[in-house]
């Protein structure tokens, strides 16, 4: 099957790119999303704080995503395929995707990767200790609480002060979980200042800067963590360690752009932060292949993702030689 433009990922980046490509004259857009609905990670971000820049209005994540999803669904030139996982992409823009009941091969005129991020894990920062149940990437805990209605634990310590970790400190507290500490190895918090104020300070949750979890204890389920103060040279300060009893550890130590498809297509990826090696915003080293949103670089705000990703749609349109026709309403 031949398609003009294939966009991989139906979060805010993919949706903004799809709408902008249409506005710039692309007639046929296939938007592939592996989840069962559009919106990406915003679906589990039920807190407010989205849209302040783009809509001059404070929205929750699902509300913000919903506005774009409505526009996408109303556009007859965009075909959305949900539960669709791209398993292969090559440098000539031939790709395959799996969905329930089918393996589909597509030859695309242009491809935009809007695949977002994954979380850095406990494994990547190699926290020593046991490997009990109760250690969660913060985003997984968020999904469990906000989407599934599951409570991950009763007493938690959060490793890392990334925004998801801060938001989850508040969210868990509201659900009755005792959040005993947020532990950050750097001298300053890595999340937004407003999240430190609204999610930690307002709830009296202690933030330990220049500290790290140096050991996770517990045979079956987490029983406690050892926390140590980190010296200038990066090693633990002798005698600084103390234990915090808890049954849950959330790990919020950063995001990694998902660029495995770009690599599969032979595109250059900077190994330090897993972003595309690029000559300009949203460009990759493969002709006709673009990347936008958190797959291109890790953004602080969904609003900026929307704004920047529209460019990817326009770049793809330009690459395809499309031009906006006046009678196409968008």
């Amino acid at each position: 099957m031949r398609r003009e433009l294939v966009i991989v990922g139906g979060g805010p980046a993919g949706m903004a790119a799809a709408l902008a490509a249409r506005a710039a004259g692309v007639r046929d857009v296939l938007l592939l999303e592996r989840d069962s609905c559009l919106g990406g990670i915003l679906n589990q971000c039920i807190h407010p704080g989205f849209g302040l820049h783009y809509f001059k209005q404070e929205l929750t994540g699902p509300e913000y995503a919903g506005r774009f999803a409505d526009l996408v669904r109303q556009d007859p030139g965009i075909e959305v395929s949900l539960n669709s996982f791209v398993s292969k992409l090559d440098g000539s823009l031939e790709l395959s995707y799996l969905r329930p009941g089918a393996l589909v091969d597509v030859k695309a005129g242009a491809v935009i990767l809007a695949t977002g991020c994954r979380e850095r894990t406990r494994e990547m920062i190699t926290i020593p200790g046991m490997r009990p149940a109760g250690v969660f990437p913060a985003g997984l805990a968020q999904k469990m609480v906000n989407i599934e209605g599951w409570l991950p634990g009763t007493e938690a310590v959060i490793a890392g002060s990334g925004d998801i970790g801060l938001i989850m400190a508040r969210r868990l507290t509201l659900e009755g979980v005792k959040v005993k500490a947020v532990v950050e190895i750097k001298p300053e918090p890595s999340g937004l200042a407003r999240n430190v104020a609204q999610c930690l300070d307002d709830f009296g949750i202690p933030l330990y800067l220049r500290h790290r979890i140096s050991f996770i204890h517990g045979a079956d389920r987490v029983s406690k963590v050892t926390v140590s103060r980190v010296a200038e040279n990066g090693s633990d300060e002798p005698g600084s360690s103390f234990d915090i009893a808890c049954d849950t550890v959330l790990v919020s130590v950063g995001l990694i752009p998902e660029n495995e498809l770009l690599e599969m297509a032979g595109g250059a990826v900077d190994r330090r932060n897993n972003t595309p090696v690029s000559a300009g915003v949203n460009l990759t080293s493969v002709p006709g292949l673009f990347a936008c949103g958190n797959a291109f670089k890790v953004y602080d705000l969904a609003d900026s993702v929307t704004a920047d990703s529209a460019l990817a749609g326009r770049l793809a349109a330009e690459y395809l030689g499309a031009s906006p026709s006046p009678e196409e309403p968008v």
Partner: protein, 476 residues
Amino acid sequence: MIYDAAVIGAGVTGAAVARELSARGAKVLLIEKEAEPAFGVSKSNSGIVHAGTQNPPASLKGRLCVEGNRLIREKLSDELALDFRQCGQLIVAFEDSEVPALERIKADGEALGVPGLRLVDRAWLDANEPNLNPAVKAALLAPTAGMISPYRFVHALVESALLHGAELKTGRRVTAIKRAGDAFELTAGGDTFRARYVVNAAGLYADEVSSLAGAPSFKISPRKGEEYLLDRKREHIANHIIFPLPSASSKGILMIKTSDGNPMIGPTAHETADKEDLSTTAAGLEEVLSGARRLVPSVSAGDIIAYFAGLRPACGKDFVIRREAAAPGFVNAAGIQSPGLTAAPAVAMMVAELLKSEGLELDNIDDGAVRRLSPAPRLQTSTPQEIRRLIEQDPAYGDIVCRCETVSAAEIRAAVKRGAATLDGVKFRTRAQAGRCHGGFCTARIMKIMQEELGLPAAALTKRGPGSEIVKGERL
């Protein structure tokens, strides 16, 4: 019901014994304290099917390793549809003065019957192992070595035993063994089982189990090994399993290939007093990284995506496989340290002979009568044509749950149907949650599938059995 034989411990040793005995006509009970088979030492090891080198020529473990290697390569890979990959191993020398040591290992290996050993020079290494440290001068190549997924090996042995009529009871720790007439009576998790013969394959706890039977004849001293898995992107960092020259106490830090494609580095070897101490340490990581970099300098800490520690159930320097005069009818298969994974099929045959000499009647095995296992289909290793065929049979093969390792909902369901009762069990069988996101994206979906299949609330699902519940509560 009186079983012919009860096998205590469903690790690779017990599973291989259960298969051997049941395939030869015995009515076997396989009894395991953990929630699933392969949750002991057999899940956390290097997964190497050793060629048999680096063992003293007169050792029992050396002889059984060479025989186990042959059985896995020539018979079991096929009969059990194993994912064995015969990639070969290299033992490398950094100095010309170390070459005689390689020659000694070669001679010892040949005395044990290791086939195909040969020394290779720098030119051969340049052509076949391009990322190897340029300082390496020569190496000993053992072509029969390979990789296997240790837990899938155990699952296959257990499934095969079940096909031959064995019974598996999990979640039951044997706490008492006594003689009652012409049978043993085993107490385990509130139940009592009777069997004419008992095989102790209890791994780290084999000394305690032997004592229960009235034969307190040895002590198991755990020796910890930490291992670090690298991203699959580094798959081609090495083509063989690479060893340094062995020290007196261990084979050293290795560059390992896993059967799943991820390279692995490790293991350390340190005595520990605690049989539950599976912690990894900052010092262990240091030791493994520097050891691995000595072999392949481009290994970096940033490649690490997972890690674990395992405990070798050591008892002196060799395996302890014997009858016990103090407990007639009771056979120990203990002290099964490395290369116990490799040796297991040969250990099982030896145990069968010991039981026979104690009076257990066993058929002679007729290869034609062995029931073959059909492997569980896996998208990751299937061709597009095969994937299309699978999707035609079941549309859920197109429904991807684990994106990092491309595992479908159909595979997760099949794993649960074949016995996975925990999240680790699903991971070991399917690789879902074993990729670079470590379950960040798929854990919730897997739990929902397990809930449907097992009819359990989310709060009842565990990582690896009671006490390791994943979530603490559910909003109704």
